[in-house]
């Protein structure tokens, strides 16, 4: 069930009321049951997958913990890796690689019969697979004691607020919170409500409304003129932020209401000045996962300059592919990798420019932010395009097909303004307070005015049709 669905509106209050009434052990059992109900509401067959994956990792980690034999531990880790990545590969990537292979062979003049499975992608599989992988790897590395309580471990894997679209939690962060008794403070409730409201506002007011512009432009078949592409790309930048950050905030807010702190996944990602900083503020739990479990094992910053560049590129390529089984995602990953590598290469120059006092001060900072935002937007164009060919077409339009905007483009431009102005004002208030997780730091008058405006905007312009969150497909 979606957060913005009627079912969730019934589901959550019931679960929450029971949660507050129960003691700690029963709270955990309730949450596990609720999480499975939540997941099964898409398709009950998905439950077998998550249960299987949970059981394998539980057993592997426990036996790893008991064993002192490095080779046995390695074998157990391998079992866990193969199980998790195998499931992910089968359900998410098999058809993609199969058809790509057939096409490649076809291009080389070799006709082969491809096998496609036509399976449905189980929602959230990318998220909980990464979450459990981090657990077994951490146990293998000796950084974490394996969890012996199966129910607690299963809850760690399936905790419903973050099950299908993150944040991707680390066991060392979430498991202790599950194990220990929780007290819900009034600060947590107030912060939780704020984050839930902010998340729904981002999703239903900003993202879902901007989606109509984006879908319209990216859904057209003929050539689109430059101004239209520009508007659509800007719209998508805010749509994907509203959608994904919105989900993360709702998840974090719901966690907070239950006394469980989930990680912050987004921290003003469009106000950064470099690609590296971007990944420290955008989908933070994914990028830190990629850093710790992919980039560092590949060699990380150690080794020659070229090795480091290679590691960056490889990490981002796989990171791109994580987002979806499609060449546009691979291309987007490559773009992000190249951006990181180029930035790293340019660091000496950057230092020299800074030393010369160029682009210093608030104005210079603003220029850098604007520049970085547009680099990010270029990435989003590739990301949103339905095919690599469309991405190329759109880019060509953006660079060459400039003319006076048409009426419908101007309407879309005004809609973009309408749907981003208020979120940006509230976001600016949060930026001023340097805190997205609570409204306590915002001055009272602004707080009340912002709340009234948000509620009103959501009521009038909110989209209740139940649009899916983009990140569910990843």
């Amino acid at each position: 069930m979606l957060f913005n669905s009627l079912r969730f509106l019934v589901f959550f209050p019931v679960v929450y009321a029971a949660y507050r009434a129960l003691g700690h052990r029963w709270q955990n059992r309730l949450l596990l049951l609720a999480s499975y109900v939540f997941y099964a509401s898409w398709d009950w067959r998905f439950l077998s997958l998550i249960l299987f994956s949970t059981a394998v990792d539980y057993v592997c980690a426990l036996r790893m913990g008991r064993s002192a034999d490095p080779r046995a531990r390695q074998r157990l880790l391998l079992v866990s890796l193969i199980t998790n990545l195998g499931l992910l590969g089968t359900f998410k990537y098999f058809d993609f690689f199969s058809t790509s292979l057939v096409r490649l062979m076809g291009a080389l003049g070799i006709a082969i019969d491809g096998v496609t499975l036509h399976v449905i992608l189980p929602v959230g599989i990318s998220f909980y697979t990464f979450q459990t992988l981090s657990y077994t790897i951490d146990v293998y590395r000796g950084r974490l004691e394996p969890e012996s309580n199966f129910a607690d471990f299963a809850l760690f894997v399936a905790f419903f607020p973050q099950l299908v679209a993150g944040p991707i939690e680390r066991a060392e962060h979430l498991l202790p919170q599950i194990r220990r008794k929780r007290n819900v403070t009034s600060e947590q409730i107030s912060a939780g409500l704020w984050m839930v409201a902010w998340g729904f506002f981002l999703k239903m007011f900003m993202a879902d409304n901007l989606a109509t512009i984006v879908d319209d432009v990216f859904g057209r078949s003929g050539a689109v003129d430059g101004p239209t592409v520009l508007i659509a790309v800007y719209a998508f930048a805010f749509q994907i932020f509203g959608d994904f950050a919105g989900y993360s905030f709702i998840a974090k807010g719901i966690g907070s209401l239950m006394g469980i702190e989930l990680s912050t996944n987004f921290l003003f990602p469009y106000l950064v000045t470099s690609p590296r900083e971007f990944w420290r503020h955008w989908h933070i739990t994914l990028s830190s996962w990629l850093r710790d479990y992919l980039y560092v094992p590949l060699g990380g910053n150690r080794g020659s300059r070229w090795r480091v560049q290679r590691n960056l590129l490889l990490t981002m390529l796989l990171g791109g592919l994580w987002h979806g089984a499609g060449w546009t995602f691979v291309l987007w990953g490559a773009y992000q990798g190249v951006a990181l590598a180029v930035q790293r290469g340019c660091e000496p120059w950057e230092r020299r420019i800074a030393a010369a006092g160029f682009l210093g001060g608030p104005a210079g900072h603003a220029v850098k932010v604007a520049l970085m935002f547009h680099l990010t937007c270029l990435g989003w164009l590739i990301f949103r395009a339905t095919s690599v060919a469309q991405a190329g077409d759109m880019l060509t339009s953006l660079l060459t097909r400039w003319q006076l905007p048409t009426e419908s483009t101007l309407i879309q431009a005004q809609q973009l303004l309408l749907y981003t102005a208020l979120p940006l004002v509230v976001h600016a208030l949060q930026w001023r307070a340097r805190d997205v997780t609570t409204w306590a730091a915002i001055p009272p008058v602004a707080r009340v005015a912002a709340a009234v405006a948000m509620v009103y905007a959501m009521l009038v312009w909110g989209n209740y049709g139940g649009g899916e969150f983009i990140y569910f497909q990843f």
Binding site: S5, L6, R7, L9, S190, R220, S221, G222, Q403, L404, P405, T406, E407, S408, T409, L410, I411, Q414, Q415, L418, P444, R447, V448, A449, A451, V452, V455, Y456, L459, V460, W461, G462, Y464, G465, G466
Partner: protein, 559 residues
């Protein structure tokens, strides 16, 4: 509104006494209340919305909702005898007649289905009718109740759980989850329900700005779907049960308020019907009749008892013409009140045409009559008579000589149009000796008009002429044969003629049936005389003139 303002004042005035978090909440709520009163909670703003918004832009359903809001804010009305409830088709049928009758009103909601009737039950009952008239076609009963009906529906309160259960019993019930969420939200926040007026206002501003600054859009390829196919596709047997459920629910609730329910079998343009929809339509008829038998005080009127409609009774796929609507309204209400259907004959009811061309021609003829000299012979009719100024022009002069003749025909006229024009033509000025009348063939192609009605209308024309011009002879011509021998219009014309033949009784009225002169031995219309099987060639006028001449000469020679 006053109570609302008082609450807001109380909230703002007393907020400072509250402890910290509640102070903010109270101020927030007061702020919300103030904005709500300004944007949605006062009659003036609805007046404004109703003036600013155009149904083409904001949507037909939405415009109807705005009108209902205004109605509810302003009007307190006496009880009604009848309230016609339904879609825009209902408005078309009863709208004109309701202007004549104070005890009849309409409650129109664009694309209304039985679900909407249930949702608007309170609003309907508030108008205090003694009975409601529902016009329901098979299409209304066999299509999916649109989910957005829920979004703009009035507050439901305690009826919500039943509604929810009924919708969830559907094969695809969860499709209503989104709209249901909006309905729930709207129960508490009217902003969610009526936000469309604000969105519409913002859209209007944006369109205006764009139109001023932007380049016009290049035409976009849109896949225009055939509307007939679309209508056919919307027929779905699975929804019949659900719609009947809502209709039963609505009828029972009306009965519990002691309001009569009259269900009139509706028809959409018959071009929509095909092999799949026809059996469904039959089933719907039977189900509706059964429902009327089950619930006391519910009456079902099949179309045979009101009007059976044909293709040309419609302006488009779903709306009857105004003329047919008027007629239908009168018949339905008469039947509902237990009277025999009134004698309303559209062919005999004066009517003008919309087209500017027609009006110009009619005005020109009026002018000729008013300004011109007296004319011993006047011609009255449609294009066939008008042709005396075309292909028949020289023929007339050759056969009849230099008799002054005034041709008052307008092509494509039917009897009702001639009647309308007669009211305005100052024929008395002309002091004619003879009027030649040939009218009615264009009535024959209209399936809704019967031969008896057409003949009656021609009779009315003749008696009006007799009344106004007692000294003038009327030379009434029987309708000419037209089309193939199997053409229904041809049969109807023949039937009209047989009635006309019995109509004559006065020495000043002369009936002449020249039809036989235009057909060959097989009864087929002669192509040399009537090339398109309707209008005459010059040779045709020749034949006509020769047959007309003796009768006309006799009249003109008489003292």
């Amino acid at each position: 509104m006053v109570a609302g303002l008082a609450l807001v004042a109380l909230g703002l005035g007393q907020a400072h006494r509250l402890p910290s978090p509640w102070r903010g909440v109270a101020r927030g709520l007061a702020g919300l209340g103030l904005v709500r009163i300004a944007l949605l909670g006062n009659p003036w703003i609805w007046q404004f919305y109703s003036q600013v918004h155009d149904p083409h832009e904001i949507g037909w359903r939405q415009a109807d909702v705005i009108r209902h809001q205004l109605d509810d804010q302003f009007r307190s009305r006496p009880g009604l005898r009848w309230l016609a409830v339904g879609s825009s088709q209902t408005g078309r049928i009863y709208g004109e007649y309701a202007k004549e009758r104070d005890d009849l009103d309409v409650f129109v909601l664009s694309a209304m289905t039985p679900l909407d009737m249930v949702l608007h039950e309170e609003a309907i009952a508030r108008r205090r009718p003694a009975g409601v008239l529902l016009y329901l076609s098979d299409f209304d009963i066999a299509r999916e109740p649109p989910g957005n009906a829920l979004v703009t529906a009035p507050r439901q309160g305690l009826r919500l759980p039943r509604l929810w259960a009924a919708l969830h019993a559907l094969p695809m019930g969860d499709r209503y989850d989104g709209p249901m969420a909006e309905l729930l939200l709207g129960e508490v926040f009217p902003e969610a329900k009526y936000g469309f007026v604000l969105r519409g206002t913002a859209d209007k501003v944006m369109h205006r700005v764009a139109a001023r600054a932007g380049r016009p859009d290049p035409p976009r390829e849109t896949s225009a779907r055939d509307r007939v196919a679309w209508l056919r596709d919307s027929f779905d047997e699975r929804y019949v049960e659900l719609n009947l459920h809502f209709l039963r629910e609505f009828s029972t609730r009306m009965r519990s308020r002691n309001i009569e329910v009259v269900i009139v079998e509706g028809r959409y343009n018959p071009v929509v019907a095909d092999a799949r929809t026809r059996p469904l339509a039959q089933r719907v008829r039977e189900d509706l009749a059964a429902m009327a038998r089950d619930i006391e005080g519910v009456v079902y009127l099949p179309s045979e008892e009101t009007l059976v409609l044909g293709e040309d009774d419609f302006d488009d796929l779903s709306h009857v013409t105004e003329e047919v609507g008027q007629r239908l309204a009168r018949r339905v209400i008469a039947r509902a009140e237990g009277r025999p259907a009134p004698h309303y004959n559209p062919a005999a009811t004066p009517a003008a045409k919309e087209s500017a061309q027609w009006r110009a021609r009619a005005a020109d003829l009026e002018h000729q009559v008013r300004q011109g000299p007296a004319a011993p012979v006047v011609l009255l009719g449609d294009s066939i008579i008008e042709g005396w100024q075309g292909p028949g022009k020289d023929v007339w002069r050759r056969v009849h000589g230099e008799i002054d003749v005034l041709n008052l025909a307008v092509s494509a006229d039917r009897t009702e149009h001639v009647l309308w024009r007669l009211q305005r033509l100052e024929l008395e000025r002309l002091r004619p000796k003879a009027i030649v009348v040939l009218i009615g063939t264009n009535n024959c192609v209209r399936r809704s008009q019967t031969a008896a009605e057409i003949a009656e209308a021609i009779g009315v024309i003749v008696s009006e002429l007799r009344e106004r011009l007692p000294e003038t002879h009327v030379l009434l011509l029987g309708l000419f044969p037209r089309g193939e021998p199997s053409d229904p219009a041809r049969h109807k014309a023949a039937e009209v003629n047989s009635i006309l033949a019995t109509l004559v009784g006065d020495a000043f009225v002369h009936y002449l049936d020249l039809g036989a002169a235009f057909v060959d031995g097989d009864g087929r219309v002669r192509a040399d005389l009537m090339p398109d099987q309707l209008h005459l060639s010059t040779a045709g006028y020749e034949v006509w003139a020769r047959h007309l001449e003796p009768a006309l000469a006799a009249i003109l020679d008489s003292p």
